[in-house]
Amino acid sequence: MSGLHETVTAQVKGQWRGWIRFAGGRVLRLLLLLAFVCFVTFLLADLSPIDPIQAYIGADMMRVGPEQRAEIGAYWGLDQPFAERLLRWAGNLLQGDMGTSMIYREPVSDVIADRFASSAALMATSWLLSGIIGFALGSIAAIRQGGITDRFIQSVCYTIASTPAFWIALLAMTIFAVWLGWFPVGLGVPAGVLAGDVTLLDRLYHMALPALTLSVAGIAPVALHTRAKLIEVYDSDYVLFARARGERGWKLFLRHGLRNAALPALMLQFASFSELFGGAVLAEQVFSYPGLGQATVEAGLRGDVPLLLGLVICSSLFVFTGNLLADSIHSAIDPKRRLHPEVKS
């Protein structure tokens, strides 16, 4: 008896070790990828025809002589060869120094830190909402497969997937903010109120419409994925057996459907951080919501290279985290994948 117990424990331990090794490999791989992305981003910015000195000085360019230009360039190290600049940039980056934003005239890390909270609140809310609504819609469609409800939900999802996210935002703003006046037209906080006097309720009130818009845009993939997965589950032998035992309806869904369909849906949600960030950029732009997305657009429009680089890195770190979470959930659950990490499902 104890012998059996020991073998089982050893097996479980071995599995955990395999999983840890697998996760470690994943993290390492992601770090390498991140380094690669940083390098390409720096290269792209370096290749661009935009002159950083001119972008920095702006309208005062006429009053700066060539000697002064050269001096500014030397101060920034622009006269150094590419490899040296890259190394210096990478070294600073590792120390958390991403340079100084030209628009905001403060360190890039501060700009990002300031705006991260608002963006994170917005994205987290809509992430949750779209996940729950999408999962519910997908489950309903799968249970009523082939029926009118199913076809209705499917066509709604495909339509949402073909709709520009910013157009949804524009419509939401026109209807709920302009016509009905239920929500404020824009901005993260009420205008004309001191920063200290802004309450949490104010912030939530201003976030509601952007978050709703963003979650509508995110519903379609989860719903369609859940529907396909649940139909697969309902076609399986164990569900057939459960039906033969007399299980049906809600109980059947809770016991067999929900468990098997919820994790794929969760993984998909984690893997969709890229679209979430893209949607947030658009929603923030429409509602003038002061988040990372708005900063990205500003940096792109006004040529703020350090800020743009910082945001590219920050957003890909965000996507990486999502992918890593999706991957670890997958491998933690699926033994095939845990033992043979190269298996792709």
Binding site: L33, L34, F36, V37, V40, T41, L44, A45, L47, S48, P49, I50, Y158, T159, A161, S162, T163, P164, A165, F166, W167, L170, L171, M173, T174, V178, V185, R227, A228, I231, E232, F273, S274, E275, F277, G278, V281, L282, Q285, V286, T296, V297, G300, L301, G303, L308, L311, V312, S315, S316, F318, V319, F320, N323
Partner: protein
């Protein structure tokens, strides 16, 4: 008896895959021809400024209303749609070509190339598309070429994966081994075994990439990083409309967006119905 009846009733109510495909192909074709004909017919004169006709809500003379300069919104929408569809088609075609090259290279040029391609796919997927597009549009100094380069270089990974998997499954199939055993040349195998599998996938991939390409083009022009404001791309029309929405001119935003939605949806439907018809895995659900 009842089973047979329900079967025939089901068939009468639900269209078969082929009929659905033909319908959506016809719709998409008509839509495209309509857009092109309309934009040819309207030309430059439809975009002229008529200040006495400004801010008109939709009517029979101006189906989509007029804007703050008295320009007919229907003409502007059609022009914008032509531009968006052209950019979308070119962008989707470019990414399809890259996806094909990458996928085939990964499948045929050995393990090392495969690893590099997989790496590139992962790297491309790890930056949010829109952020990447903003970066590329900025780096290339804006304009149409920036958008095109951005779309082409961000949209290929998903299709490249499909092509790689499909090519690998064909190459390792038994019938290809038999073919090789019969002494068929590589070229013969490629033409007779590989092409019939890959061409439909490429075509479907192209059709399904198109909606993404158009939506991203619209998004980036909406953010102001694409065309100059004189070119009436849908994104630009919508971003201009934002200033007038609070004064109740809803038609400036509703109709152009709706037109884009209908076009994108038509292509998406065509792609999906073709996919269902060709790929048995998708036909069931």
């Amino acid at each position: 008896m009842s089973a047979a009846r329900s079967l025939t009733r089901g068939r009468g109510r639900r269209l078969t895959g082929r009929t659905r495909l033909l319908i959506s192909a016809a719709t998409t074709g008509l839509l495209l021809v309509g857009i092109i004909l309309c934009s040819l017919f309207i030309g430059e004169q439809g975009l002229s400024v008529k200040l006495e006709l400004r801010d008109l809500p939709p009517s029979l003379q101006h189906l989509f209303g007029t804007d703050w300069l008295g320009r007919d919104m229907f003409s502007r929408t059609v022009q914008g749609l032509t531009l968006s569809v052209a950019v979308g088609l070119a962008g989707a075609a470019g990414s399809t070509v890259i996806a094909m090259m990458m996928g085939l290279a990964a499948a045929f040029l050995g393990r090392k190339v495969d690893r590099v391609v997989t790496w590139l796919i992962d790297a491309t997927l790890s930056v949010p598309h829109l952020v990447m597009l903003i970066l590329i549009a900025f780096v290339s100094g804006g304009g149409i070429q920036g958008i095109m380069i951005g779309i082409v270089f961000t949209h290929w990974p998903s299709l490249a994966r499909v092509i790689r998997a499909e090519a690998l499954s064909v190459v390792t199939a038994d019938y290809v081994a038999v073919s090789r055993g019969f002494g068929r040349t590589r070229w013969w195998i490629m033409r007779h075994h590989l092409a019939p599998h890959l061409l439909p996938q490429l075509f479907i991939g192209f059709l399904l990439l198109f909606p993404h390409a158009v939506l991203h083009e619209a998004a980036i022009t909406f953010l102001g990083l694409g065309f100059s404001p004189h070119q009436p791309a849908i994104g630009i029309i919508l971003s201009e409309s934002m200033r007038y929405l609070s004064s109740g001119m809803w038609w400036l935003a509703v109709f152009p967006g709706l037109a884009l939605l209908v076009t994108v949806r038509a292509f998406d439907m065509l792609g999906h119905s073709l996919q269902r018809l060709i790929d048995p895995k998708h036909s069931r659900t």
